[in-house]
């Protein structure tokens, strides 16, 4: 494994230590609670979506978990703020496939920006859920299908 693939890069450690948008969103239009029972990761994602434009005006989270899940959630919030809901679904799809090793942003066109940081997790299938929990929860909130998602 080359150093490039190492998972715990400074950005991830920084987001773990000082997560961005780490608070409740009082005026959330959407929210969802996500858990990963095996790891004990437990987060809530809040969104404030402008219905007219479909723009995510604000997004935040609360909860606890491992560094990967915390950093992934924090990065997701910074990445999605200001994006359109439709675009966020595209990114979810690419991200999800990337961590499963089914999508290679080094070879395929993508919209992941610095989220490719999480590519190294492909080598740890048991931990992909740590990285994708945030995204599943965000989609759960948008779909309002459920109040809770679980990776098990």
């Amino acid at each position: 494994m080359s150093y490039d693939n190492e998972l715990y890069q400074q950005v991830i450690l920084d987001h773990n230590r000082k997560p961005k948008n780490f608070h409740e969103l009082k005026n959330a239009t959407h929210k969802c609670h996500g858990i990963n029972p095996l790891c004990g990761d437990d987060i809530t994602v809040y969104l404030d979506v402008d219905e007219a434009t479909g723009v995510i005006q604000d997004i935040s989270f609360t909860g606890s978990g491992c560094a990967i899940s915390k950093a992934s959630t924090s990065l997701m919030t910074t990445f999605l703020k200001g994006k359109k809901v439709d675009d966020s679904r595209v990114v979810f799809d690419e991200f999800h496939k990337m961590v499963l090793g089914e999508f290679d942003p080094e070879k395929q066109e993508h919209h992941l920006g610095k989220l490719t940081l999480f590519m190294g997790i492909r080598e740890y299938p048991s931990r992909t859920k740590c990285a994708s929990l945030a995204w599943h929860t965000m989609i759960g909130a948008l779909d309002k299908k459920t109040d809770e998602v679980s990776t098990e």
Partner: protein, 415 residues
């Protein structure tokens, strides 16, 4: 077709295949070793032996719980093997494959986790008269415990299930029908699809014991439609210590755990325990990791030859052998089903089966003598035991010639 024609049409290059199995070039007492006890257990190809030792030398790690790379990799290989089994059986998803230590354990699992939950006093369980003890005793125990009734499908003199009787046995009290796909004593191939359709119509679930079929023919559990299909790795050229079953997810989800312990739970406190989904629910503890990998290698090996070719070739061995033995005076073949796998159960008027086995062995020929863990079948056919030749695709026509010759000698000896 006479025997010369049968040999001619052989679909398998048997010498090439034999070279894959180191034990087959062995001599026993100075004579070539002729292994005809494949119904008991099969020999291992070099590909399986090598995969096992390579895995244990370079890749061995625990599965499912570790998150370092050695473990991630072994878990991946383990799950790939599960997919191979699913594909081999035509199962819809790999989550419907449960690994166990073998057929016996698989049937016990179903008798416990399905049986103890869904079979109650006054209910009925149906088996057949030609089952292995593994598919008899667990149901006896269950029925006795629950006050349920064990009903038995009879067989005709050729060893075929009497389907009209089966129709009569099925009632709305039948909870489960458990029969083998192929009888280990008689070789009868049972009409498992018809059995399943009828059972389902009556509202009963169906377990097919595939111990003797999966190694010898193409199996499609979706075509059969059964709820459970059980098997043993050691009978299908894989290592000992591994087996499993297909279980329909819909049915397995309703079942309680059998063996309990680590890895089959989501959460344990001292007060209570939350169980995981199938297949994890039924795989407590550290599984036979290396043996699962070996099973995957055995399936690859079988797939490369092709199950249809294997079936065809073994069928020609059966036809050839049947013809040879039928010509021998004082020899009776027990089991003459129209639809039959490559098993010949032999009874001599003049010699006790255990003597036959020992004498054959002195000619380097390995058969099993006894009741083959199927005493009710022995009772049905009025014999205490038989000598059984059970064939595999690595057997040769010449080996059956040797068997016939040796049997003639034994008959002469004893009369």
């Amino acid at each position: 077709m006479d025997n010369a024609e049968i040999m001619e049409k052989s679909s398998i290059d048997v010498e090439n295949i034999r070279a894959d199995f180191p034990v087959l070039s062995k001599q026993i007492g100075g004579k070539p070793f002729i292994y005809l006890d494949n119904g008991a257990t099969t020999q291992k190809p070099q590909a399986v032996i090598d995969r096992v030792s390579q895995f244990d030398s370079e890749e061995y790690g625990t599965v499912r719980r570790g998150s370092y790379r050695l473990c991630e990799r072994s878990t991946q290989l383990y799950e790939e093997a599960r997919q191979k089994v699913a594909d081999f059986l035509g199962a819809p998803t790999k989550q419907e494959i449960v690994f166990t230590s073998g057929t016996t354990q698989s049937i016990n699992l179903v008798a416990h986790s399905f049986g103890r939950k869904f079979v109650n006093a006054g209910d009925e369980v149906i088996i057949s008269n030609i089952e292995h003890h593994a598919n008899t005793v667990p149901w006896q125990v269950l029925c006795e415990e629950k006050g349920a009734k064990l009903k038995v499908i009879p067989v005709n003199d050729d060893g075929e299930l009497i389907m009209e009787e089966y129709d009569r046995l099925l009632t709305d009290k039948t909870r489960i029908v458990a029969v083998n796909h192929v009888s280990n004593v008689l070789g009868t191939i049972n009409p498992v699809k018809e059995i399943t359709v009828k059972a389902h119509k009556a509202g009963a679930k169906v377990l097919i014991d595939g111990a003797q079929s999966m190694p010898h023919m193409k199996v499609d559990v979706q075509d059969i439609g059964c709820d459970f299909y059980t098997f043993s790795g050691h009978k299908m050229y894989a290592p000992s210590g591994i087996g499993g079953m297909f279980g329909r997810m819909e049915v397995m989800e309703t079942m309680s755990p059998y063996v309990t312990g680590g890895d089959m739970i989501l959460q344990v406190t001292l007060e209570k325990t939350i169980f995981a989904k199938p297949p994890a629910r039924f795989e407590a503890g550290t599984p036979p990791i290396t043996q699962v990998i070996g099973l995957g290698a055995a399936i690859d090996y079988l797939d490369a030859i092709g199950m249809d070719r294997i079936f065809e070739y073994e069928k020609s061995l059966l036809d050839y052998g049947t013809r040879l033995l039928q010509e021998i005076d004082g020899l009776r073949i027990i089991g003459n089903a129209a639809d039959k796998a490559a098993i010949l159960s032999i009874y001599l008027e003049s010699a006790h089966p255990h003597d036959i086995i020992t004498m054959l062995d002195q000619d380097g020929i390995a058969l099993r003598g006894g009741h083959h863990c199927a005493q009710p079948t022995m009772i049905r056919f009025g014999v205490p035991a038989t000598a059984r030749a059970s064939m595999a695709f690595y057997n040769k026509f010449e080996e059956l010639d040797a068997l016939a010759e040796s049997l003639r000698k034994i008959i002469k000896f004893f009369s």
